[in-house]
Amino acid sequence: MSGNGPVLGDILPGDPVIPSSSFLSLLETHGMAPSWALGDRAGSLEIPEGTTVLAVRYADGVIMAGDRRATAGNVIAHRRVKKVYAADEYSAVAISGTAGMAIELIKLFQTELEHYEKIEGTRLSLEGKANYLARMVRGNLALAFQGLVVVPLFCGYDEADSVGRLYTFDVVGGRYEEQDYAATGSGGSEAKAFLKGAYGDDMDEAAALEVAVEALVAAAEEDAATGGPDVRRGIYPNVAVVNRDGITEVPDERLAEIAATVLGGRP
């Protein structure tokens, strides 16, 4: 690639046998794939980390929520980090771990899904998207050993089976489909402990939103790295709802109401 951007001649799909719908392989061909070449002491750097994200299944689909805090060591690095993203029209992805890498990973994942959809004229299956994300996490394994861990959470609406599904991952690219709820990040175990008690089968959207926000509040109460709703600064969690109609991000005004209810009702 020249300094002036990609040149079309270079990116004509060359070998007709190898499918050309992968965006990552296109980046790799041009030496543009994101890479973090770090020395042995990378683990000693204090790099901002994203903390608690969670997903909950409800009657019509899935809800994904994340707090907004990023910490570097014992410092609050950012208060308004976005951790929950639309992966495409019918799925959402959230990050925990080394924030800079994770955000780049998500951007790449989003581009990859859109790229595939445009070239093939059809969306990847939900399972296919989860598998692809697992491959991207696996690609990061060497860095994970240096302490730069990225663990996403993925959920979506399965158009083929008309159900919401959620997936968790581990650092080696293991991909696990979860039943009802999942959480990851520093406050993840607190959030899960809360969800275990609060989760109900076939909750409607309003109930599930409340449960999701309260789980983040519960995590923030026990985990210093997780930021709960900050009414004074007007900072609320990122929440996305995925169902038959696609993905919608819940607006701050609605989250402010939910947060008020949740905070008001807590002991």
């Binding site: 990609p6 004509l12 296109l26 859109e114 004229g121």
Partner: protein
């Protein structure tokens, strides 16, 4: 020793252009019309899966006529180009102009350097937030790049189609009117009737979210034509 025949470059270019034109004229045409909320790309295409129109990026769309495998290659290259650019810089940095220039370069190269020129023509459409911001570029088999205003046709009988469109179009039509105009023009000029299922129509609609490209369903086309 045999000497290769000398062919003057004028003759060579003319022969190649004629070859390409003949191939393109055999194909079914595509009409592009700007309407109040965006751009309509429409043509006859009985195949439901081998498309002649495509999304390239958020507000950029593609249409091609001629040999499928040849414009498909450009379509895929265009998506790769746009995604690479949008990923490296910013989504708004992907424009139809950049892509049209890239296509023109590529087709120009192929026209002069390859065994045979591509028998295709492509159109790139981009919409902005106002109708005045819309852009249509047409790239011919030899790399000629032209800027089109409001409407255009390419493929078989394109001159007749363009002329007729020019006569029948005054103000910016709404989507229904644009669909009717495109369909009627093709049916009249090609002296044929085409079922709703055998049309391919896609729009760039500025009322849609980030990705403004959408295909029209046969029932939408039927409803628009029945008005």
């Amino acid at each position: 020793m045999t000497m290769p025949f000398y062919v003057p470059p004028e003759q060579l270019t003319k022969d190649r252009a004629e070859f390409a034109r003949k191939g393109i004229a055999r194909g079914r045409p595509i009409i592009v019309i700007e309407y109040t909320d965006g751009v309509l790309l429409m043509g006859e295409n009985p195949s439901g899966s081998l498309h002649k129109t495509s999304e390239i990026y958020d507000k950029v769309a593609f249409a091609g006529v001629g040999r499928f495998n040849e414009f498909e290659m450009l379509r895929v290259a265009g998506i790769r180009y746009a995604d690479l650019k949008g990923y490296s810089y910013e989504r708004d940095d992907v424009t139809a102009k950049g892509l049209a220039n890239a296509y023109a370069q590529t087709l120009g190269q192929i026209f002069t350097h390859e065994m045979k020129p591509y028998e295709i023509e492509v159109m790139i459409a981009e919409i902005g937030s106002e109708p005045a911001d819309s852009k249509l570029y047409r790239i011919q088999f030899d790399g000629t790049l032209r800027d089109i205003k409001r409407f255009g046709a390419m493929g078989g009988m394109e001159d007749e189609l363009t002329e007729r469109l020019g006569q029948d179009l005054d103000d910016l039509p709404d989507l229904g009117a644009a669909v009717r105009l495109a369909a009627d023009t093709i049916e009249v000029v090609l002296e044929t009737t085409i079922d709703d299922e055998d049309w391919e129509a896609a729009i760039l609609d500025r009322n849609l979210g980030r990705r403004k490209f959408r295909r029209l369903t046969p029932s939408e086309i039927g409803a628009a034509r029945a008005q």
